[in-house]
């Protein structure tokens, strides 16, 4: 055994927080280098990070919702429908009683969708994807109907709610100001890091904080309590769980109610988004699905789905703030990453994977070199393309819950 393979095993045996720290450090370093070399300072500006946080929040909530459902063994592509319900509930409660009521309203409407999914899939054993599609159709219909009924008289537009009052934003002081000062000095790497961090610490709302708190909270609840163990056992092997006295139906119901609540919060996050305060028809734009993809990207783990949501939110934020040319610069970053990985794999003597990475890096660089900008039309779908690529490359290393999507009926184990 060479020292290098031992070093590789060493990375695998590092505690989770250390591995995450290394990944984050490499990511930040890569962005800083890319921003410096391509001159696209928007890549690491605090404004971009803030936009990214706003955009990642609904995706993060949806991804957490997916995590809860799928860990209990229920596929939830109805997240999109529950999110739509959440946007409506949040807007309806929000324009009357303020932002905190909006959060509750979104949550309650999301729970209704989750409950429906639970009744269909758990009690009636309907195929999970079929039920999810039906809930998305139904969510769309119910919100449109209710909007015509309740928003039209107030806002004069059946597709839109009256304006909802948003949350006051706050910053973590004096750290945020200090970082802003460093960012303004335009020093190499240092200012980039300050910009990325500063964006995370300013322009916060209670909902953003809630979203980031729910990630470790979900981890602790699902992986560090007996409640969580039982819930996850329903997703791994419900028959075995039943034989140990776990009430599988109950746990699946709880999981789907939480899942719906989280998706509803995602809808509330959209409704309370400072750029567009209120309900707007079609405002979810498939974010429920993206959340599901972020969760799969994150290997059905809370930390992983946070990384996935951050990636999608960031690409989206860059696209929105700085346009196709900045996304174009990200291609440059991707080719650096591919070459770095190739070098790593060469050191580990994994020739074939290294060669593939090198070829992919060269291809991406060729695209970068031969084009001026990424067409606007494709830049907005960058998250989806990234998801497809990640799934194509890494799907075999993902491990979904073993009994996911399977029908389970009480007392019918073999």
């Amino acid at each position: 055994m060479t020292t290098l393979t031992r070093a590789r095993a060493g990375f695998g045996t590092l505690p989770g927080w250390a591995r995450s720290a290394i990944v984050v450090a490499v990511g930040v370093g890569l962005l800083a280098v890319t921003a410096t070399l391509t001159g696209q300072i928007q890549l690491t500006s605090s404004g971009t990070t803030q936009a990214a946080v706003r955009l990642l929040l609904p995706i993060l909530f949806a991804a957490l919702g997916g995590l809860w459902a799928e860990r209990a063994g229920v596929i939830n592509i109805g997240l999109e429908g529950m999110m739509i319900l959440g946007t409506w509930g949040a807007a309806w409660a929000g324009y009357q009683w303020g932002p905190y009521a909006a959060v509750v309203g979104g949550l309650v409407f999301g729970v209704l969708g989750g409950l429906l999914h639970a009744v269909a899939t758990v009690s009636f054993g309907v195929n999970h994807i079929v039920s999810g599609v039906a809930i998305t159709l139904l969510g769309l219909g119910v919100t449109k109907y209710l909007s015509t009924l309740l928003f039209l008289p107030v806002s004069g537009n059946p597709r839109q709610s009256p304006r909802v009052e948003g949350f006051e934003t706050f910053s973590v002081q004096p750290l945020a100001d200090a970082l802003a000062a460093v960012e303004a000095q335009q020093r190499v790497v240092l200012s980039d890091v300050a910009g990325l961090l500063g964006g995370l610490l300013s322009g916060l709302t209670p909902l953003v904080v809630l979203g980031f708190v729910l990630v470790p909270a979900s981890y602790l609840l699902l992986w560090r309590t007996s409640f969580g163990l039982r819930l996850r056992s329903c997703g791994e092997n419900p028959v075995a769980a039943e034989s140990l006295g776990v009430q599988v139906y109950l746990y699946k119901y709880i999981a789907l109610i939480v899942s719906g609540a989280l998706a509803g919060l995602g809808g509330a996050a959209l409704t309370l988004n400072p750029g567009q305060l209120g309900y707007l028809e079609g405002q979810t734009g498939g974010r429920g699905y993206i959340g599901l993809a972020a969760m799969i990207f994150g290997n059905w783990r809370p930390g992983g789905l946070l990384a996935g949501s951050a990636l999608f939110g960031y690409v989206d934020g860059v696209q929105l703030r700085a346009g196709g040319e900045a996304v174009h610069a990200l291609l440059y970053g991707a080719s650096i990453l591919a070459v770095g990985l190739a070098v790593l794999w060469v050191l580990q003597r994994r020739w074939q994977t290294a060669a593939i990475a090198l070829v992919a890096g060269a291809a991406v660089y060729a695209v970068y070199f031969s084009t001026e900008t990424v067409p606007r039309e494709f830049a907005s779908y960058a998250p989806q393309i990234v998801t497809l690529l990640v799934l194509a490359v890494a799907s075999q290393r993902l491990r979904p819950p073993a009994a996911i999507g399977m029908e389970y009926r009480r007392g019918e184990g073999d």
Binding site: I129, L137, V142, G286, L292, E377, F378, T387, L388, S395
Partner: protein, 361 residues
């Protein structure tokens, strides 16, 4: 007799349940369900509504067949949406750029649409077969990507033409158009015939060919099919590609029979309709036809309801609740029949010698 009953009872119950649900919603919102029902039925005889229903139903029939091919293999082709839109867009571009003799021109457009649909569905098919990527996720992602591709393709500096406020592809010459059947009250799309032929072909493929048998066998039990010599990867790829090829046709009735171009405002959302209609019709060609007609009828009711002041979106609720209640109803009936079957077998075995019981137990 009981087979027919078990096939027809669930959808009938589901439709009744959904109608009752909508009636409650209407009463709460202050409208009379009976007036609404009267208007919905009365609209069929007025103007071009009947023809419009047939035209829409043909489109829904095609997308639902595409979905049903996947369902046979327990594959969820959520990507029909992207496949038919991209196919219609590319076919319209090609149709607008070339000029060929009639019939041939139309045929080329149809072939292009089929190929684009098949290729676009081929991506999730290959990902599923060789990389184990769930087709649900990959097709959802590809739906979004196809939107980007369409927006890119019909940009005025790619293949688009600016027409007023709308962007469309170059119009297709009359030689490429699919002539319709003028009934006096609206024109039935020529593509309706193609939809019917597709339905017959689907029935033949599933019930009268070896491939259809292998397809259904793989759907029933992948392991049993593999043991019987069916190549699972090959079946996944063929089923998804075939589904995409059929989906590719779904945009054409409107492109070849009414719009003669693909525009930014061309209709969307047929993909999910296809899944819903296929579920309603239980993947049976006749059942799907009924589901498609029902769906189209409900769609057209929206306008008639709007005219009497009932929010048109009640139709969406109706459609959503029909789908959800029909799948629940099928499941309940299936369980009931399973239990009845078990009781029947148990009753028969009670009369049999004790030695046989052990084998069963």
């Amino acid at each position: 007799m009981s087979r027919i009953r078990s096939a027809l009872l669930p959808p009938a119950l589901a439709i009744l349940f959904a109608a009752a649900l909508c009636a409650v919603a209407l009463v709460i919102s202050g409208a009379s369900p009976l007036t609404a029902l009267g208007v919905m039925i009365g609209q069929v005889g007025q103007g071009t509504t009947a023809v419009d229903i047939v035209n829409s139903a043909a489109i829904y029939y095609i997308v639902a067949l595409a979905a049903a091919i996947g369902f046979q293999m327990k594959l969820f082709n959520i990507g029909i949406e992207g496949q038919y839109r991209l196919a219609a867009c590319v076919a319209a571009i090609v149709g607008g750029l070339i000029v060929l003799p009639p019939v041939l021109h139309t045929l080329v457009i149809i072939v292009v649409a089929v190929l684009v649909g098949a290729v676009w569905a081929g991506i999730p098919a290959l990902l599923k077969a060789y990389r184990g990527v769930s087709e649900v996720i990959s097709t959802i992602m590809l739906n979004a990507v196809s939107l980007g591709a369409i927006a890119f393709l019909i940009r005025p500096d790619s293949f688009g033409v600016l027409q007023g406020n709308n962007i469309s592809t170059k119009p297709i010459e009359p030689s490429g158009q699919f002539p319709g059947l003028d009934t006096g009250a609206g024109t039935i799309f020529g593509m309706v015939v193609v939809a019917v032929l597709l339905g017959v072909g689907y029935w033949f493929l599933l019930n009268r060919t070896r491939f259809g048998f292998e397809l259904r066998a793989s759907g029933e039990s992948a392991t049993a099919a593999t043991a019987g010599g069916v190549n699972a990867k090959r079946m996944v790829i063929i089923a998804l590609v075939l589904s995409g090829a059929v989906a590719g046709l779904a945009g054409l009735p409107e492109v070849l029979g009414r719009d003669f171009a693909y525009t930014l405002t061309s209709p969307q959302g047929y993909g999910f309709t296809g899944l819903a209609v296929a579920l309603l019709g239980r993947n049976h060609p006749a059942g799907i036809a009924f589901g498609a007609l029902l769906w189209a009828f409900l769609d057209k009711s929206a306008i008639a309801l709007d005219n009497i002041g009932v929010p048109r979106d009640i139709v969406l609720i109706m459609q959503g609740s029909v789908v959800l209640s029909v799948v629940v109803a099928y499941e309940v009936v299936r369980r009931y029949e399973l239990a009845a079957e078990q009781r029947r077998v148990a009753a028969q075995l009670r009369g049999a010698p004790a030695a046989d019981k052990e084998v069963v137990g």
